[in-house]
């Protein structure tokens, strides 16, 4: 039998899971049309997914467990509102008892904090640049390159209204060889930011924008991606792309020139 291509393996699984963005899905479909090995492998993966997802493989909760959990939650609720079961206690005093009891039980807060700490993800120590690169890579891997997909700047700009508290410059650079693909809202450096997506040939350029007074001019390389940062009109603008530094600088100049100063 024809072997599937090792270098397409990851994309194949992302495709089977419906997690590729449009550009990568298209790329993979084109390959699929010309590669019998990968086509057969995709069929096998789909069959495997079906076999695992069939009924009776999951272990649903038993009725007994459902009742047990419901009872435990009831106990928890009544502990919260634990009422000295004195006949004739007014609703008012019961409410106060409840509140007093609740606010005076520090163990609850500690338990809650414990859960919170367990949930906290180990993302400390990640620099802003690392976060930007991670966000760029994620936008390519997962099906999340754009939230609004259009080459029309007049569609993208209003789309951001109400989603973020500032107005990012959305410029048309198609004539310079950088067509606009769309926009999305992302989360970087502890705040919600605007991301614009442009393309140059096969390369994706993520433009991250947020209000800042402290941005500096910088160009750097990280994990094989090129980053460019500058400040314009009280906005910090970051470019992240696998595009070569020369063309990325060209994009920066075109973007900076076209966007409001």
């Amino acid at each position: 039998m024809i072997r599937p291509c090792a270098e397409w393996n990851l994309l194949l699984h992302g495709y089977a899971d419906g997690e590729l963005d449009a550009a990568n899905a298209l790329k993979f479909e084109q390959h699929l049309g010309s590669c019998g090995g990968c086509a057969a492998e995709l069929q096998r993966v789909m069959a495997l997914k079906q076999a695992i997802a069939q009924d009776q493989v999951s272990w649903p909760a038993s009725p007994a467990l459902k009742e047990r959990v419901a009872a435990a939650l009831r106990r928890e609720t009544s502990m919260r509102s634990a009422l000295p079961a004195v006949a004739g206690t007014s609703l008012l005093s019961r409410l106060f008892d409840h509140v007093r009891r609740w606010s005076l039980v520090p163990s609850m807060a500690i338990l809650a904090a414990g859960v919170f700490l367990m949930l906290a993800r180990p993302e400390t120590g990640m620099s802003l640049q690392d976060e930007l690169v991670a966000s760029h890579v994620r936008s390519l891997l997962a099906n999340h390159l754009t939230d609004v997909e259009t080459s029309d700047q007049h569609t993208v700009k209003p789309w951001f209204t109400g989603k973020i508290d500032f107005s990012p410059p959305v410029v048309d650079l198609a004539s310079r060889g950088f067509p606009l693909v769309g926009g999305r809202v992302d989360y970087v450096g502890g705040r919600v930011v605007a991301a614009l997506i442009y393309r140059r040939n096969g390369h994706v350029i993520n433009v991250f924008i947020w209000p800042s007074l402290t941005a500096s001019n910088a160009t750097m390389e990280r994990e094989g991606y090129n980053l460019v940062n500058w400040k314009q009109a009280e906005l910090s603008i970051w470019l992240v792309s696998d595009l070569n530094p020369v063309e990325l600088k060209e994009f920066k100049e075109d973007f900076a020139e076209t966007a409001p100063k």
């Binding site: 992302g14 997690e19 695992i52 959990v69 939650l73 008012l92 859960v115 367990m118 891997l141």
Partner: protein, 210 residues
């Protein structure tokens, strides 16, 4: 309404009370429906029917107490993260108590049906005949799928359960397991390859009469 007769300073406390009641109601609506998913994950992670139920109950109590910190997003990913943590606690407890080697290596030692999956070669059955195509032709019975899943290393078992059984997105799996999204993708690819190999070995070893 009762608050009409309250003294003025009682206002905030009544609101707190009401917030608790609303929180409990929202918990019922938002988190309780994931009980099956929670049990499924706990069952596959622990490999133990009794422990799974304890883990689920513990997870739901913790979730209930911490519900105020739930900030929206995927409620399913949120409760499954807590289930996963409770499972880790449970296993740490087990190991401390028994002071034995990790459970992973012995979780199926007592399951005779499972030994089959460990037989990789049989002299009377040339391996080449078992191609992936014949695997497709062979319908996989659900209880056999369960056994093969149960025999996978935990990280791969977890990834497949979250993806194929609970239908979480890569992003949600990344949230639950605290691994980067790219790793989620490669882990799933690897998990499926391991699953297919284990299945092939099961076929090669011949099915048990049932």
């Amino acid at each position: 309404m009762s608050h009409a007769v309250l003294p003025a300073e009682g206002g905030t406390e009544v609101r707190t009370e009401r917030a608790h009641a609303e929180g409990a109601a929202r918990f019922q609506d938002v988190i309780l429906p994931h009980l099956d998913a929670a049990h499924n994950l706990a069952r596959y992670l622990s490999g133990d029917a009794t422990a799974a139920e304890d883990i689920v109950q513990e997870a739901y109590l913790r979730a209930f107490r911490a519900f105020g910190q739930f900030r929206g997003g995927s409620s399913k990913a949120w409760i499954l993260t807590i289930v996963r943590n409770c499972h880790l606690n449970w296993r740490a407890d087990q190991q401390r108590r028994a002071n034995i080697e990790p459970l992973e290596s012995m979780s199926h030692a007592d399951d005779p049906a499972f030994e089959d999956a460990d037989i990789s070669e049989r002299a009377d059955l040339p391996r080449e005949e078992i191609t992936p195509e014949t695997i497709l032709a062979q319908r996989m019975e659900a209880d056999e799928v369960r056994l093969v899943l149960a025999g996978l290393p935990e990280a791969f078992r977890e990834a497949l359960v979250l993806r194929e059984l609970e239908c979480l997105s890569y992003r949600e799996i990344s949230d639950v397991t605290s691994i980067p999204i790219g790793t989620v993708m490669s882990r799933l690819a690897r998990a499926r390859a391991i699953f297919a190999t284990a299945w092939r070995q099961r076929l090669a070893a011949g099915k048990k009469p049932r």
